[in-house]
Amino acid sequence: MKVTKRILIVDDEEDIRDVVRVSLEEFAGWLTITAASGTEGLLIAKTEALDAILLDISMPDINGFEICEELQADSETQMIPVIVLTAKVLPSDQNRLAELEVAGVITKPFDPMTIWRQVAEILGWSV
């Protein structure tokens, strides 16, 4: 039986959440859960069974870097693959990203037609 993937999308921009959600659900057929803030994302990650997290970096309450660190620190959540979805493209930002133990990075803006493929590729999922 093929199990449907559950992906958490954490982004404070509602529009982006909507767009990503449509991409993943409509084109890849995955289930998505969205969180509008770092706090919410972190709580969901700790209580729900997830297959992956798409994580924005610039958020007002807890930024993506800190979320990554916290997920890594918790044995329950450190196994969940994280893909960073960010508009931060400067070298200094990239350096910081490289230090994180994340599965991959997708930069904004992205192609809604292909983002799900990128995710699948990064995570080695067959589509």
Partner: protein, 1508 residues
């Protein structure tokens, strides 16, 4: 029976068999150890079980607690998220599809949640359930109790209606709504049954309120199933053999690991709840129920449990471990987690182990006892044999031996030792026997043959048992007669008292030694014997051995001696003479009564002591000497010595006799003494009288004599012998001999005088001399007198002889001295006189005196001199000296020594210098009798002195000039001093220095002249020519004396001049310069003139002048050098000053350079560092100089720096640059840009390196800020772009072609974000323009009122949209400003105020003019007045205190979501701030959270005036 027990014990302690001793201690500890090990093993097993059980329970409870905590977190979180979404306006409750979708999404997000619900107070109810199928429940007003339930698909789309439930109004029927409304808070509700499900659920609910009106807008709730917890408990390991239970504080079961159902209920939704939770003591499970009852017996455990507790209870007789742990949460849950395990579960393996242990212990014990008995047996056998053999040995059977083949090593050793011992014992025994036998024989022989009588008697009766031959012979009884009899029976004791004494001694001391007793022999003879007896054990019996020694003969002799001595003693004692006997060592043996009387002592006190102390100290040596001289040949000596008797000194005469023994050894001294003190005293007196006489004669050098005319006997006193040089010990010389001693010439006189005296009976006195035997002549005054007898006839002559030799000799010496003195006086050079004061005439003058003062023969004769001499001498003294001499004479008359030097004018007019000395001679009364004196001609000396003085003066002058030259370098001053000094010293009329110039001209350059004569007035000769030889003469450095200038051969041309200035003679000395030139040159001349007369110049004066000239030449050289030096110095000073200025410039350039500069040695040592360098690195220069740059370099950068340095040093590169980091003194790391270049000397040798460093921290900071800004801007641009790109991309795929509402939503996203992007780009551009200052603001006069109105107009529309009132308070004033920017500022601030206001709020916009009085309280920092203060005030949510300052910075909104919701870019306030600042104003904000914010900004009015 009380005595039986100790007896038994006693026997036990003394008679224990060895086998017991060995076995029992061996076995007993073994039993003990085995028992103890078994017991401890069992105990430790028990403890382990208990420990393990407790630990398992604690771990289980902890795990359950964690799981419960995690599980219960979810519903609380979902409620919070829902409420937050409403509060943040992400969820609009009025939008029903959005609400349903949100509830569905929550259920999707959290799998383990059963249902998510919302109900509004009006009764709008939505529930999304997951059972596990998805359902949507809907109830709406006006029929809030009609609940429609639909299917939902996986995407949240509503499907078919499933059922309709009527009569369930959750607001009324469900506690979660009521509780939420009542408490207004998130919290738990009582456990309930969920719908028709056979499961307990727990729900959390939270009310949501409108933020402005504070009115309830609804309640969110979440249901979770508690059977999940039971399922979890069932899967715990512990549940296989124990139980895990969760209950609440009242004991109601919440979850259990048993399969039982935990509630009883009536089915049906919407009815009043028939549901009932089971209590723990009502459980269907027996163990659970028992536990419940056990707990109910301990109500405190249930109700107020704060800490986990360990309990134990018995269930069906089995012990159960129980752990109860409280579980609290902040929302009101108070549960208990219980775990229970039977102890038996752990005990089974332990019991198995225990059984095995007991078995093993028993086995061990058996083996130990068996081994112990076996070993004991083997040991005991050996010891028993040893025991037997030892007993035999003790019984005298010495040939006992033990076998040595025992298997026990120690026993074999013991047997060997025993055998050796037995062997030795046997040998010793044999040896003793032989020795004893020999000894017995020896002693028997001694006994028999002993010369002393010996007897052996029985102790008790003293019956004789054995006697030797000597005894038989001594007593005269036969052997048979004596044996068996006692001494009493034989009547041996003469005195029975002595026997008693003997027996007493024997009894007390057990023996008697040399007791003198008398016994009787058989013949009746009584003998004295020394009796010795001793008790001895002989052949096992106590025996008395008695020995006798016959001393009868000795006793008889002693008696005779005593009688003889008594006789002699009586004789001696009665003597009046002192009699004593001494040992050779002076110990007194005997002294008779006379002796004791004499010394006043008792005999007992002195006997045995030395007699020496009695002898007077002064005589002891003499006594000792005499004693020494005595011997066997000369055994007698008479000694006279003093003794001390009762403190008095007495003279004693002793007749000593030595006594010798037969061998001739000196044994004793016998002395007989008598007192001769009186005799001695008489002798002493006589001797003293004679001595006195002798002494008197010696002193007077008078000898006395007498001649008996009848016998011709001559008697001389001792002194007379001395006078005659004869030995007083010899006899006096006879008359004939005497006459020989007297020389012929005196002999007759003396004889005649003596004859006359005899004839006339008169005394005589004759002076004569005698010849002594040693050849000397002695003068004597001989006096004599005849002595008449009764018949008036001369019978003897007596007289004295006085030695007058010394007097005679003195007279002769005096005469001789007088002669010598006169001869001396006549011959000495000094004049000598004796002047008689009283008669006032010379009693003596010597020839020299006459010669010196030159007595004129024609003036008076020599005789006259004696009387007129004094006035002549005084009159001819030089008048200048006369007063001084008269004063000297005055002093002389008072008795003082006269000593004067003075001039004396001889009759021929010659002046002499004389030195006179005179001594007044006084008598006893002080009256001056005469004056004795000398006169010496010291003219020559005086002349010498004078010449020395002038020479010294010249030397002094020379020294002065030399010193002058050395002290001063001013030539003119030197020359001036020189001519003055010379003129004064030489007493010359004119002294001048004539300079001979190199060009041939000449000039007087310095002159000193006596005022009488004209000055040469610095005369100059244009063409000065000396004759060649003259110049050469001068060039050689020779001075020249010209006695008469008129006749000077070398100065013809000067003659006229010299006459003009009145020169008669002169001295010329050349000043010759040699130094620094090849040949000497005449620099000038020193000329000394005599004008008053033709002066006879001395060669010495010329030499003197030349020496001065030589000094002057040096001075001139020095002065030239000095001048040259001055010029050079001036030049050098100039150069130095220039250098200093240059150095100062470079130093300041170095010090004040705004970049860090350091000089570093090739090895990296700091040599110098400027202020900036020090500031960057944080060290002082002094500290740096002790360091190398390597020490300061950040380690990672060192390699690169050193590599560059190596290349520099090697000359491969000319300089290098790098970015590196230094570590400052404070430990911080400074990034710098380093530039290094080498400094080399002319030879290309590397001297040091110059390093420049630039602190790049500021630069890096700016870089970082720039990067951050770009990062933010990039992010801000990409975010809307992403939405646009995404939305359009989705639309493009056509996926929403059949879903127009979704497509519309995507389009809306794209559009909104496009607008946002446009605003952002505009704002960024505006800000950039304002910040760069590239675009000047176009300033103009504006009307404040107009600007404000324009701004209000532009925002009026959006204000109206939100029903916000704008309240404007305008100001009529002219302002110099850029109107567009001001309007933009107003618009930005106003639109912000509107955006953050709620519907119906008011925004106030005000402008007012501020002057000095008003301004003080408003602005933050003083502003030049007047200015305009603008205020924009709202009633919005306010700004947190920590954001007040940062909101004016770029992208610093209070809340990031504002940019999205309020359409802001995060740049509006930054733009406002820039505009206000460009106008010279200030902007700030004051705010209170929840009450609103007030933005202020000021614009100064002065700008306008300034521009005008």
């Amino acid at each position: 029976m009380p005595i039986a027990f100790p007896k038994f014990l006693h026997r036990l302690s003394t008679n224990v068999p060895l086998s017991w001793v060995l076995t029992v201690p061996f076995v007993l500890p073994t039993i003990g150890a085995v028992a103890l090990v078994g017991y401890l093993f069992h105990q430790s097993g028990q403890a382990t079980v208990e420990n393990m059980g407790r630990k398992l329970l604690a771990q289980t409870n902890e795990r359950v607690t964690q799981e419960v905590k995690t599980y219960l977190q979810t519903p609380l979180l979902i409620n919070r998220l829902n409420v937050d979404a409403v509060n943040q306006k992400q969820l609009d409750l009025q939008n029903v599809p959005a609400l349903e979708s949100a509830l569905f999404n929550r259920l999707q997000q959290f799998e383990r949640v059963t249902a998510v619900l919302f109900v509004s107070p009006q009764g709008k109810f939505r529930v999304v359930e997951q059972l596990p199928k998805l359902y949507l429940g809907i109830a709406d007003p006006p029929q809030p109790d009609k609940l429609l339930i639909y299917h939902l698909d996986g995407q949240g789309r509503r499907g078919q209606l499933v059922t309709t439930v009527n009569g369930l109004d959750v607001r009324r029927d469900r506690p979660w709504y009521q509780r939420a409304v009542r408490t207004g808070k998130l919290g738990w509700n009582p456990i309930s049954q969920y719908g028709t499900f056979k499961a307990l659920t727990l729900d959390a609910s939270q009310p949501v309120y409108d933020r402005t009106t504070k009115r309830l807008v609804g309640v969110f709730a979440v249901h979770i199933r508690l059977d999940y917890l039971s399922e979890f408990l069932r899967h715990l390991d512990i549940s296989r053999f124990g139980q895990a239970i969760i209950m609440d504080q009242s004991g109601a079961l919440v979850a259990t690991s048993t399969p039982e159902q935990l509630y009883e209920a009536e089915a049906g939704i919407g009815h009043q709840n028939q549901f009932k939770q089971l209590n723990i003591n009502e459980s269907h499970d027996n163990l659970t129920r028992s536990l419940g009852k056990y707990l109910y017996d301990r109500p405190s455990t249930l109700r107020s449990l704060e800490q986990p507790q360990d309990l134990e209870f018995r269930y069906k007789g089995e012990l159960q471990y129980v752990k109860i742990t409280p579980f609290h949460d902040p929302y009101g849950l108070n549960w208990r987690i219980l775990t229970v395990i039977p102890k038996a579960y752990f005990l089974e393996p332990i019991q198995h182990n225990t059984r095995q242990t007991i078995l093993l212990c028993q086995l061990t014990l058996g083996v130990a006892i068996g081994l112990g008995l076996l070993a004991a047996n083997r040991l005991t056998a050996g010891f028993a044999q040893l025991n037997r053999a030892s007993r035999e040995l003790a019984a005298g059977n010495l040939d006992q031996r033990l076998p040595t083949d025992s298997p026990i090593y120690e026993l074999n050793g013991l047997a060997q030792t025993f055998n050796q011992m037995a062997e030795q014992l046997q040998q010793s025994f044999d040896r003793i026997k032989t020795t004893l036998k020999g000894s017995e024989e020896k002693f028997t022989t001694i006994f028999r043959t002993s010369p002393d009588p010996i007897a052996i008697a029985s102790l008790a009766e003293e019956r004789l048992l054995e006697v030797n031959d000597s005894l038989i012979e001594f007593f005269g009884y036969s052997h048979a007669e004596m044996i068996g009899c006692t001494a009493l029976e034989l009547n041996l004791w003469n005195d029975l008292n002595e026997r008693d004494q003997y027996r007493a001694l024997l009894q007390q001391q057990k023996r008697v030694r040399n007791l003198e007793v008398q016994i009787r022999t058989q013949s009746g003879e009584v003998k004295t014997i020394l009796l010795s007896a001793e008790i001895r054990t002989l052949e096992g019996q106590d025996r008395l051995i008695v020995m006798y020694r016959d001393i009868s003969d000795r006793k008889a002799v002693e008696l005779a001696l005593q009688q003889s001595e008594a006789r002699y003693r009586a004789i001696v004692e009665d003597q009046t003479e002192l009699i004593a006997r001494f040992l050779p060592d002076t110990t007194l043996l005997f002294a008779n009564a006379a002796y004791c009387r004499c010394f006043g002592i008792n005999q007992e006190d002195v006997i045995g002591k030395s007699y020496s102390p009695n002898i007077h100290e002064a005589d002891r040596d003499q006594v000792a000497r005499i004693m020494q001289s005595m011997s066997i040949v000369n055994p007698t000596a008479i000694v006279e010595n003093r003794v001390i008797s009762n403190g008095d000194i007495r003279w004693m005469q002793w007749v000593n006799r030595m006594l010798f023994d037969e061998q001739g050894n000196f044994t004793e001294l016998q002395a007989v003494g008598r007192d001769i003190t009186k005799l001695k005293q008489i002798e002493e007196a006589l001797r003293k009288s004679e001595a006195n006489l002798l002494q008197a004669q010696q002193i007077a050098q008078v000898g006395s004599w007498e001649i008996d005319l009848e016998t011709e006997k001559i008697t001389w006193s001792e002194e007379l012998f001395h006078i005659f040089g004869l030995d007083p010990a010899q006899l006096e010389p006879s008359r004939i001999e005497l006459l020989k001693i007297i020389p012929d010439e005196d002999r007759g006189v003396l004889n005649a005088a003596i004859k006359r005296s005899i004839a006339e009976g008169t005394p005589y006195e004759v002076e004569h001399h005698i010849h002594r035997p040693d050849g000397t002549i002695c003068y004597i005054i001989s006096k004599g007198q005849a002595a008449l007898n009764d018949q008036q006839q001369v019978y003897k002559i007596y007289g004295t002889a006085l030695d007058i030799t010394e007097r005679k000799q003195a007279e002769a010496a005096l005469q001789e001295s007088e002669t010598r003195f006169r001869q001396l006086a006549e011959t000495v050079r000094e004049g000598f006189f004796v002047f008689e004061t009283e008669s006032s005439h010379y009693s003596y003058v010597n020839p020299a005196y006459e010669a010196i003062i030159g007595i004129p023969s024609q003036a008076f004769l020599r005789e006259e001199l004696s009387s007129k001499g004094m006035s002549y001498w005084l009159n001819n003294i030089h008048p200048d000296d006369r007063n001084r001499i008269e004063a000297g004479l005055q002093r002389e008359r008072q008795g003082n020594h006269f000593y004067e030097e003075y001039r004396f004018i001889r009759p021929n007019g010659e002046i002499l210098w004389l030195l006179s000395q005179a001594f007044p001679i006084q008598d006893e009364t002080g009256t001056i009798l005469r004056i004795v004196g000398t006169v010496e001609d010291i003219t020559a000396r005086k002349q010498l002195e004078q010449s020395l003085r002038s020479q010294a003066e010249a030397e002094h002058l020379l020294a002065t000039i030399t010193q002058n030259i050395r002290q001063s370098l001013e030539l003119e001053k030197i020359l001036a001093t020189t001519v003055l000094e010379i003129q004064r010293t030489l007493n010359a009329d004119r002294v001048l220095i004539f300079r001979l110039n190199p060009d041939g001209s000449g000039q007087v350059i310095q002159e000193a002249v006596v005022p009488t004569y004209p000055m040469t007035d610095q005369m100059r000769w244009e063409d000065e020519h000396f004759p060649e030889e003259c110049y050469e003469y001068y060039r050689q450095g020779n001075p020249r004396i010209v006695p008469n200038v008129a006749t000077d051969e070398w100065a013809g041309c000067l003659t006229e001049f010299l006459q003009e200035v009145g020169v008669k003679s002169k001295v010329v000395a050349p000043i010759v310069q040699t130094s620094g030139k090849l040949s000497a040159e005449v620099w000038g001349l020193l000329i000394v003139h005599a004008c008053s007369h033709y002066r006879h110049w001395q060669e010495s004066e010329a030499d003197f002048l030349q020496r001065i000239c030589n000094q002057l030449a040096i001075a001139i050289d020095q002065a030239n050098l000095y001048q040259q030096l001055q010029i050079e110095l001036a030049e050098r000073r100039q150069t130095e000053k220039a250098l200093r200025v240059s150095e100062e410039q470079f130093r300041r350039a170095f010090d004040d350079a705004p970049i860090g500069i350091s000089l570093i040695s090739p090895t990296g040592q700091f040599l110098k560092a400027n202020t900036c360098y020090c500031d960057i690195i944080g060290y002082t220069e002094a500290e740096l100089l002790a360091l190398t740059f390597q020490e300061l370099t950040y380690p990672a950068d060192l390699e690169a720096d050193l590599a560059g340095l190596r290349q520099l040093v090697a000359g491969e590169i000319r300089s290098f640059q790098m970015k590196k980091r230094y570590i400052t003194k404070q430990g911080t790391i400074v990034p710098v840009l380093l530039n290094v270049a080498p400094i080399r000397d002319e030879d290309g040798q590397l001297l040091y390196l110059v390093g420049h460093i630039q602190d790049t921290r500021d630069y890096l900071k700016v870089e970082r800020m720039k990067e951050e800004f770009i990062s933010v801007v990039s992010h801000e641009l990409r975010t809307p772009l992403t939405s646009i790109r995404g939305a359009l991309g989705i639309l493009e795929t056509g996926v929403f072609n059949d879903r127009p509402e979704k497509a519309q939503h995507m389009l809306q996203i794209a559009l909104n974000n496009s607008e946002r992007l446009v605003r952002l780009v505009n704002d960024i551009l505006t800000l950039e323009r304002l910040e760069s200052g590239k675009v000047q603001l176009v300033m103009e006069h504006c009307q404040v009122e107009d600007l404000m109105q324009q701004a209000v107009d532009s925002v009026q529309a959006i204000a109206d949209q939100s029903a916000i009132t704008l309240c404007l308070t305008p100001l009529r004033a002219n302002l110099w400003a850029a109107p567009d920017t001001i309007i933009q500022t107003f618009t930005n601030l106003l639109s912000n105020a509107i955006k953050f206001s709620s519907t119906g709020n008011t925004v106030w916009f005000k402008a007012e003019m501020m002057d000095e009085q008003k301004s003080s309280s408003t602005t933050r920092s003083p502003l030049p007045t007047p200015y305009i203060l603008f205020t924009i005030k709202d009633q919005g949510r306010g700004i947190p205190q920590n954001k007040l300052d940062v909101i004016f910075e770029q992208f610093q909104q209070v809340d990031v979501s504002d940019s999205r919701q309020k359409g802001g870019t995060g740049l509006g306030l930054a733009i406002c701030k820039k505009i206000v600042q460009q106008h010279g104003g200030q902007i700030w904000v004051e705010s209170r959270l929840g009450e609103g914010s007030t933005f202020y900004f000021t614009l100064p009015l002065t700008m306008k005036n300034e521009s005008n």
